[in-house]
Assembly symmetry: C2
Homo-oligomer: 394 residues x 2
């Protein structure tokens, strides 16, 4: 096996905590093929850069020759996740979790080598456990220790109900490590408690406890919340190159260092130097790097070119087209038809507010009637372009 | 079915709480054959008058024609009982619990009609539950509600460890009511919490919640602690008539009313009148009543007669015999042989202390040598008698 200290340094780069660092290094140096576990939540199959933080660490382990196992919590998803938001998430069916698991695997393949990546469904072992096995599992942990988990603790102290079954969730997740006899588990800091339960349970079941590495949660484009699809502050790893580039250009200045360190192979000191030199250039460089990573160099260059044109106020090379059958049309009517405005009144206000351009020239008359005998470019706000042409019947 | 209001009154007599009294009366009047549940702890197979409190209530239900089901917690016994004494009781094997269950049934047969009494082992349903079933069961209850149970609450507040599996115990016991679709569950006040869990779970599983009746815990002969074999303050329902009578005479004056009400068919006002009239006579009457109940009239009369003789200092009609082969023997040697004294020195001290009689006459000479050509009665202290005779070879 490969014992590449540079890659080991990259694995550790950005980590919040390692339990234990010495143990991790020793195992990586042992020459043994390690089992690296990552728990996946199949109820959230759309992967974004937030997920890529740990996935890219797994890629490094994979490059060193270790065995990567994704545990799809198809069984645990059936009970919903105690999110701390005091509402029970609807339980998924086994079928739904399988289908999400496959979708997850397909997306993961954009980062990891799918041939060398294993998927395990935890229903494989959890569904075989009977009541006596559950009792045995539960006997390994005290109520007080489970209630130390932040979300439980807060809810318990605030007298918000916690269902008994929710307490089983961390035990199940921890038991996954026992079932796999995992050497290392990687996860976000929000998973620290669960990962350490796995570590403790392995010892109770007579195994060598796994090493645990936690990484920070990537803050989203809003600069406030953890990146998530539901908050629409995300960059999806499946998004088109142009969208990815444009979104990546919106990373807040003060988060750019985190994005470099957590989502690319740039080491911290190098990222600091890039940002210190020229913040605008650093943004372009980041956006290019991310787009190239998921779409290749050519697509990244094309996305950069398009971005420069749009950001400079020029129309992009390619844009949607819209055909009109009349020879001429009221501009406010046209704005409604293409979907830029939701009513004629709104369209007039958009024009009056100097938000509409034809062929690059701002329209000032809200009652303008335009001819469509020749195609023209209708621009709405800064970034939205559409080519208008006649359908030929006029 | 029998709707005998007198028996219904007897069932209610002495009850601490009934959830709900109206529901109970309605069910008893419905003409339907009800399922009456009692949970039995197979780790404590020796029944005493403390157990008889609820068993005798079941007998009344049985006489009214209802179905009595003992649930032997063979499955639950495997995890030990959270006693609140902060130590885990050793888990029993399935075999041990079955054997205790049979012993339990044999003793129960002294109070209930064994032909009309059913035994159910909760492993029948609990061992068939898988992890998903356990999750479903657990989801019906919140952590806070389980931790309201007195022993959990105290231990939790005092930061004494509670194992996660202990929290499952009341849910399992409660699920027994669901499995039986029980109409009524009877138990001691220490079981109130568990019985109400059963009531709540039945509602969650779409059943009509069982009526719950709780009875006080019988205080033992020491006048302080709950009757229990380990504290040696008990009257076993399996004990010989003489022992039972003698022990029953030792019930403390201020507990006699409870013993009448909880362990015999005497209604409270009648018991009060008996005790008020003549406390000594009330004790005799109680001891006779209890002995007759478990051994019949003849044995009770014989036990009373013996008691009166012993208490009056006279030798009982029948006593153990001991044969001696020598024609004469040192008294202190004899006291050792029959087991009254553990050494010659102790025997001499017993004699000097005026604790030894021969044929009713106190012996004063510690060095006395006695002839065994004629049988004689050796008395040690107040109550221990033995007949000494020659083996005929002398």
């Amino acid at each position: 096996l490969d014992i590449n200290m540079e890659k080991i340094e990259l694995i550790k780069s950005g980590a919040i905590q390692i339990y234990s660092e010495q143990g991790l290094i020793e195992r990586l140096r042992s020459g043994r093929r390690l089992t690296i576990k990552l728990g996946a939540d199949p109820s959230r199959p759309d992967l974004h850069l937030g997920h890529s933080v740990v996935l890219r660490k797994l890629k490094l382990f994979q490059e060193l020759g270790h065995r990567i196992v994704f545990v799809i919590g198809d069984f645990t998803a059936m009970i919903g996740d105690p999110t701390g938001r005091n509402k029970t998430r609807p339980a998924l069916t086994l079928e739904e979790t399988r289908s999400s698991g496959e979708s997850y695997f397909n997306q993961v393949a954009k980062i990891l080598d799918p041939v060398k990546t294993e998927i395990a469904y935890n229903s494989e072992w959890l569904s075989k456990m009977n009541f006596a096995d559950v009792i045995s599992l539960c006997s390994k942990y005290t109520v007080a220790r489970i209630l130390e988990r932040d979300d439980f603790k807060n809810r318990f102290e605030q007298n918000q109900p916690i269902s008994m079954h929710e307490l089983l969730y961390p035990l199940m997740q921890g038991y996954d490590s026992v079932a796999l006899n995992a050497d290392v588990e990687v996860g976000g800091t929000d998973q620290t408690f669960n990962l350490l339960v796995g570590r403790a349970l392995q010892a109770d079941y007579g195994q060598v406890p796994q090493e645990v590495i936690t990484f920070p949660l990537l803050v989203g484009l809003d600069g406030k919340e953890k990146m998530s699809k539901s908050l629409d502050n995300y960059i999806g790893i499946d998004e088109p190159a142009d969208v990815m580039f444009e979104k990546a250009m919106k990373v807040p200045d003060d988060l750019l260092l985190d994005y470099y360190v957590l989502t690319t192979d740039t080491l911290e000191q190098d990222a600091r130097a890039i940002i210190r030199k020229d913040i605008r250039e650093a943004h372009f460089r980041y956006a290019f790097m991310i787009t190239e990573m998921y779409h290749g160099r050519q697509a990244a260059e094309s996305a950069r070119k398009r971005y420069l044109q749009v950001a400079g106020g020029a129309a992009p090379d390619r844009m949607p087209e819209f055909t009109v059958s009349e020879p001429e049309i009221m501009l406010c009517e046209l704005l409604m038809r293409v979907g830029f405005s939701s009513s004629k009144g709104e369209a007039r206000r958009n024009i009056a507010g100097r938000g509409v351009k034809i062929n690059g020239v701002t329209v000032e008359d809200p009652m303008l009637k335009v001819a469509v005998t020749e195609p023209f470019i209708l621009q709405f706000g800064k970034n939205r372009f559409i080519k208008i042409r006649s359908d030929g019947h006029a």
